[in-house]
Symmetry: C2
Subunit: 570 residues, 2 copies
């Protein structure tokens, strides 16, 4: 491809509103252009990368017998009313009416549509398992679209759905899909973690998330420095325990003037904050809940909600609620002498804690020598994990210590179960002739978002450094002087022999200055740059890898062999 | 691919609401499913055909250096307000608002978007010509979606746009695109005509339409039986002339009681209807226009509108308007003694007509021996073509006679000129440093509609007969008894050797009755069916082409060679 023919509108300046590296580089490199907030056009270079990614996805889907189809993007509102998500999905759902005032949405995901399409068709256990997938534009009316393709309002997804007659088939589909995703992200040269996900409003009961490591990422990933363990911060398990125990002393109150914080009471009583049992008042589904947790730790509200099977998000109690519902006072709360309506939840970090300190529900008064098992009659099972883990602590698999990083969600796999088949009435007859709801799984990859994640991980100050298998063009041939016939002729021969060898080639045939051409080649990020300059009359070329600073000169005849050797270092 | 794994939900009954053959067959064959009126899911077999078509399109676009990109489908309303089409496109435009109440549309076509993307970029004649294209879902809120994929509300288009610095570059892009489209439709095995199109609301000044011959088509195509001439009925040129002339007689009135029709006055005066000069009263942009045309012919209102450069569609005058604006009476209108405000338009079929008959603008009165040139002082140039051609008459290129057929619009190429670059202010500096609007072309193919057009032309009562290069699977291997290990084993060997030979293969491994399998194989329409039955133990197979009734038996070892010979007849 000649650079004069393709459309690569590079920018010289860093766009002021682009915060993410990948966003800046894809704008500067002429890969994408914004058409409206969070809505982008993929220009020719980006389309070539998308196609490379899609090709990898299709190959890996074929490996696990997943079958490609293509549902519409505009969907009747009734389908989403049937599932209940028309109301619950909220403002993120693009809604519209047709000329006859019928409700439609633009699909952010297709559980309803696929369930609709298979119902009455996958009506026997003999017709399952099946896995269907599609690659398609999806829509989410994000409140604050940002970071280019990372949080857009129109984006490309690979979404897949499995249909099973029993749990074993679902597990099998889920495991196959996990393997396929692993292969896909490896082939995309991504550094990622497989983490236990929160299934959010997909309605499932088990999920894993694939998260690409990147500072710009919106999620905090917790992972072990010595094992495969990884989880979202909201899900990472806490296993810290108190230190070796002292001898239990009698419970007693103690006056503690001006000590409304963990630090102040610990200092006053000359104990460590770990000895302080912090009390946090919550209102959960309108009921008062007191959460006890180690003084140096924080309550994880997602864990708390899950532990309590709460319908609504949990809310911290206001000072008024502390007084009216807990009969206590902020800064001096504790688990003793509370109204019977208050439920007490103790974090497992307190299990076995000896001679702790808690508030006494009166200003400037605490209890000393608290032993929860003894004083509140708690058994081991009463302690639950509602604590947010901290960097450096022991990994829950007891291998290594936990590290924190930021991540971009690039894939998510869910065991949906019968959430959609029950509401949308997709049933089948099992081996015994009984009608059962189809058991489903749902599997997504953010194809356009992958572009951003890959660029975040593969770039330097000068531009993008494409992984070989994803590059829009693998080789960028730069002609120094397009008026020199020797150079033009040699470039043409080089292009032909590279293409014969199976490489994709972009030839910079423009009459720009060499400095401009080199800078744009670095920006665009082809793995290999071949410069055709003054030595063209001697058939000498210069080869440079994008990820290295040195270049080598080779004769035209040695080009392909030299490239194969050099590429081992790419 | 095993048939037990793919998803092909065939239907036994003809869907009652499907009128078109292609719609019926694609529903029955499990290719498509309706999700809402005019909105379809492409099931796995259809996606494979779509991909085959898209591959052909991409190859032919690459041949003419057209570059692929991908614009968003959801577009800001402001862009369409800038071009003026937000208001003029009418109810066919899907409109919606985002959560911040900003206006968006779902793109039915992308002239505005592409103009927006290239403006400020293609800012010099040196950066042109360029051709960009995309393959993407498009949206039209049709009032009456019908015929399956033929008139849908979400459909897949290849839309391309050329950007040129001068007319010669536009002509070149247009001609290249016409050649590419010809190649594409030939490779899709379509019987089509290239016709002079009406550019409709695209705002262009020259266009050609590619129309696939099919009874279900919504357009009437006129074509010569002896040349390449073809046109839409609205555009087909009329060149009929009066027969050799008599001697002109003096103009005179004649009483003609009860003769308000051409037939009745011709009978009464003992002339042929061709001698009668029929007068038709129109109101064009609020002005009265009398159209004179040969008695056996009809006025073509599209031609009339074009001839008069009318802003609005032309309207037949009502009886009241005939009286008030023309001072005449229905059934007896004529060109003499009219108010001066009435414009007279004479069709070229009347040029040289000798001794014709016209109404005299009074009940039961006509003029005889009318010679328009003499009596109305008309010269040759005053005669214009406003007549609808009729089957059997001379083709305008004087080669052969005109035939009528119905057609499906499958492609359309437009010379847009500066319609969009002027309104959206996309300008460039020409060789002389002068700012000029970019000269554009627009080129569309209805990819999903092609599916329907191909099926309309390639089917029989039993089902679809796919062209070889488009078939979802080229070979359908049917195992008669899946419990017979010899058969299963042989089918597996056959599948492997066919795939090695480069064929796509579907293996019917289901435990259905042979009759069901054969019927579904015919319905799905793979070009070749290979039956593995009782003679499997002797490695004998049966090969049958979908478009023939006979089958042949071959040994497994001769399979590939036999297929190559047989396929010459496909």
């Amino acid at each position: 491809m000649k650079q004069s023919q393709i459309f690569i509108p590079t920018l010289k300046e860093i766009p002021s509103d682009a915060e993410a590296k990948s966003h800046q580089l894809m704008l500067r490199g002429g890969f994408i252009r914004q058409v409206s907030a969070g809505i982008y056009a993929y220009l020719p270079l980006a389309v070539r990368v998308l196609h490379n990614i899609e090709q990898i996805v299709r190959e890996e889907m074929e490996q696990i017998d997943a079958i490609e189809m293509l549902a519409p993007a505009i969907l009747p509102g009734e389908l989403w009313q049937e599932s209940g998500r028309y109301a619950t999905y909220g403002d993120n759902l693009f809604k519209l009416k047709d000329r006859h005032e019928r409700n439609f949405i633009l699909g952010p995901t297709h559980e309803e549509t696929l369930t609709y399409l298979i119902r009455d068709q996958l009506n026997s256990y003999k017709k399952m398992p099946k896995i269907l997938y599609q690659i398609q534009a999806k829509y989410r009316d994000e409140d604050r679209p940002r970071y280019g393709l990372l949080r857009g309002r129109e984006f490309i997804m690979k979404d897949g759905y499995s249909f099973s007659a029993n749990q074993a088939q679902l597990d099998d589909a889920f495991n196959k899909m996990e393997q396929a995703y692993t292969n896909i992200f490896n082939r995309c040269a991504l550094d990622y973690r497989v983490i236990l996900g929160d299934s959010g409003d997909m309605g499932g009961n088990a999920s894993k998330e694939f998260s690409a490591v990147a500072e710009i990422g919106e999620d905090t990933i917790v992972y072990s420095d010595s094992s495969d363990y990884a989880a979202n911060l909201e899900m990472a398990q806490s296993i810290i325990q108190p230190n070796p125990q002292e001898t239990a002393q009698p419970l007693q109150t103690v006056a503690t003037p001006h000590t409304p914080t963990v630090e102040s009471v610990a200092a006053f009583l000359k104990v460590t904050p770990k000895q302080v049992i912090k009390s946090r008042a919550y209102v959960v589904d309108e009921q008062p809940v007191l959460v006890l947790i180690r003084g140096d730790s924080e309550v994880n509200e997602t864990k708390l909600k899950n532990v309590l099977n709460a319908q609504q998000d949990v809310q911290m109690a206001t000072d008024e609620q502390v007084e009216s519902m807990f009969h206590s006072v902020a800064g001096f709360m504790g688990p003793f002498d509370l109204p019977e309506t208050v439920k007490i939840v103790a974090d497992s970090s307190l299990k076995g804690l000896c001679n702790g300190v808690t508030g006494a529900n009166q200003k400037d008064l605490h209890w000393q020598n608290v032993n929860l098992e003894r004083d509140l009659h708690l058994s081991d099972q009463d302690f639950v994990d509602v604590r947010t883990v901290q960097p450096g602590e022991l990994s829950p698999d007891h291998q290594g210590s936990l590290q924190f990083t930021r991540g971009i969600e690039i894939g998510h796999i869910f065991k949906l179960g019968t959430r959609y088949s029950e509401t949308l009435k997709a049933t089948f007859l099992d081996e015994n002739g009984r009608q059962q709801p189809v058991i489903m799984g749902s599997y997504g990859i953010g194809i356009s978002r992958l572009l951003s994640a890959i660029v975040e991980q593969h770039c330097d100050d000068a531009g993008i450094i494409w992984p070989w298998q994803l590059a829009p063009y693998q080789v960028h041939v730069v002609i120094i002087n397009t008026k020199d016939e020797d150079q033009v002729q040699l470039a043409s021969e080089v292009e032909a022999s590279l293409q014969n060898a199976g490489f994709s080639v972009l030839v910079d045939d423009r009459s720009e200055r060499p400095g401009v051409k080199f800078a744009e080649a670095d920006l665009i990020g082809s793995p290999v740059r071949i410069t055709v300059g003054k030595k063209a009359s001697d058939k000498i070329l210069e080869i440079k890898l994008r990820n290295q600073t040195d270049s080598v000169e080779v004769n035209e005849n040695d080009l392909i062999d030299s490239m194969k050797i050099l590429l081992k270092n790419y």
